[in-house]
Amino acid sequence: MADDPAKDTGPVAPTGPGKTPASGQEAAPGKPAPPSGAAPVATPPARPAPKPAAGPPPPAVPTGPPDPPPPEGQSPPAFLAALASALPGSVTQLSYYVGDWTVIVPAAKILDIARYLRDAPEAAFDLCSDVTVTDWPPRPERFDVIYVLYSVRQRHRVRLKTKVALDQPVPSVTSIWPAANWLEREVFDMFGVMFTGHPDLRRILMPEDWQGHPQRKDYPLEGPGELLMENPIDWLKLRQSRDEADIE
């Protein structure tokens, strides 16, 4: 049922550089990306996008998760207080939602915080479960880099979150949690977030010669990506003629 809107808004093309409708909000910051970004946000020539899934951009583009502060009476676990006092300025914000604690931290301090969280006995986060990214294109610091940590000894979880801009590199935590190696590679592959100090930052899931980072929100969902990115009107015409050919 959610696919129904897909049919009328169809291609992502209208959100391309040519127009700036209300929904183009999402793509608008996406387009300036290639010139400034380290990795060009262009799909490879003559290679189809991963899936021809025609999905619409959300009706109104959100600028980030709410990150609600902990409710009254919900005191953060001890290690978070200890973290804030041990490394001043390391906790930008604390958030609590459906039972999960999230700490928003500055990207520059991520290594110190990671080391502290791993080594402090009351924290003891020895397992880096996951490293992932959420892309919020309208925001200047568009990527939320999220580290899902777990302590095997203490049996508790926390999420670290840091916000980075498009071409802002993040220090790699592979030296602290070797488990982050492939996870960071995947993030690099899918979002183009650079990790400094990563031993082997290559693409992992996409082919080596792939262009662009497919899980960014402004990555086209269908069609010959280059044409779509460069000249959406032509792409629309092509698509229309193809559809007509199908009907006949």
């Binding site: 049922m1 959610a2 959100p62 959420t134 492939w182 969902l221």
Partner: protein, 383 residues
């Protein structure tokens, strides 16, 4: 690696082939009988000894994460089937529970029990497949067919429950699509009875088999802290003696109401990982028996809104899939009917990451044993 297999052994390369200062590069996969799918491992060999390994994945990448951002919440259940396709029901459960967490829905007790039964059946099915292929990789082909014989019984049970044998799509957000068929619980118990003796049969063929011991003992030894550090989870981690099991540590479904033990290994070699999984067969049967016998009556679906549209927020929820910690990180923007971000923490992916560490210094034959002992499913690694 740009070297192709055909061009690999020109006489000029021969020279490098076997002399200890030079190494032979062997491209194992993506088409290889024992890489369990389209995994490619580029081995640098000194003789038959593995000097280093590079794991190349992505041949089965279907973009499920991206795809899910453009499907509505219910449609995604079907996509999760395609990740770990030998344990589809577990994926369904993990996803549905994550969304339920976002929606703060209470799932009825009966549904949680049935989920537990399905998850554990699925664990047995997955372990059967693991046992069969692992034993096959080491050359014991009979175990493979025995294990598949029993897996067949589980698939029959699933077929009766949801009509499908591999990709079940057997969960709904808030509960189950339908109640269990009448008499199904009896058949499950009957299966448990059969399985009890079959496990003995497998163990008879392998556990004390001299060759099996020689092939698995001391292969790919990894101690607990290091296993945690390189991100192993599930039986691969428990084989190293770390008692980490999401079912115990962060109970979901009905695991907090049921009794079971978490087997752990002592040394952290391939044999320990094997023993852990063999014991998990028994623990799963124990769980299934308890859940089936104590199956509560009641509704099977909780209070789910007609249009599923979780409030804006994000959450991470992990369950214990047969391979390890299967986590879902889902972000909802509260406005659309699609998730804003859908991220899977695939256990196979994270376990496979440890392969180069495990194979270093072992022989080519051990590489296949180790791939088997990590129990990966490429559908999940590549997503």
């Amino acid at each position: 690696m740009t070297e192709t297999r055909a061009g690999a052994v020109t006489p000029a390369v021969h020279h490098g082939a076997m002399f200890d200062t030079n190494e032979l590069v062997l491209n194992m996969g993506p088409q290889h009988p024992s890489t369990h799918g389209v995994l490619r491992v580029v081995l640098r060999l000194d003789g038959e000894k593995v000097v280093d390994a590079d794991v190349v994945i992505g041949y089965l990448h279907r973009g499920i994460e991206k795809l899910s951002e453009n499907r509505n919440w219910t449609q995604i259940i079907l996509l999760t089937d395609r990740m770990d396709y030998v344990a589809a029901a577990t994926n369904n459960v993990g996803y549905c529970e994550t969304v339920e967490k976002l929606l703060s829905i209470e799932v009825p007790r009966r549904a949680r029990y049935v989920r537990t039964i399905l998850c554990e059946l699925q664990r047995i099915a997955s372990h059967c497949l693991w046992l069969g292929t692992h034993a096959m990789d080491i050359g014991a082909m009979t175990v493979f067919l025995y294990a598949f014989r029993e897996r067949e019984l589980i698939l029959d049970l699933f077929e009766e429950f949801c009509g499908a044998r591999l990709t079940y799509n057997s969960m709904r957000i808030g509960g189950l699509p339908l109640d269990i068929p009448s008499g199904w619980d009896r058949k499950v118990l009957e299966f448990c009875r059969i399985m009890d003796s079959k496990i003995l049969e497998y163990e008879e063929l392998l556990t004390h088999n001299r060759i099996w011991l020689e092939r698995t003992k001391g292969i790919g030894v990894i101690d607990g802290p290091e296993a945690v550090a390189i991100g192993l989870s599930g039986p691969a981690l428990r084989g190293s003696g770390v008692p980490r099991d999401v079912r115990k540590d962060e109970p979901y479904a009905a695991y907090d109401e049921l009794e079971f033990d978490v087997p752990i290994g002592a040394v952290g070699d391939t044999y320990d990982r094997y023993l852990v999984r063999m014991e998990e067969f028994r623990q799963s049967l124990r769980l299934i028996r308890q859940a089936t016998e104590g199956l509560p009556e009641g509704p099977i679906v909780g209070k789910v809104p007609r249009l599923i549209k979780p409030p804006a927020g994000e959450t991470y929820h992990a369950i214990e899939s047969p391979k390890g910690e299967l986590g879902y990180f889902i972000v909802s923007d509260g406005k659309s009917t699609n998730p804003y971000r859908f991220r899977v923490r695939p256990p196979s992916f994270c376990n496979l990451q440890g392969l180069p560490r495990l194979v270093r210094g072992h022989l080519v034959a051990d590489v296949v044993a180790l791939i088997g002992s990590l129990d990966i499913v490429l559908g999940e690694v590549d997503r």
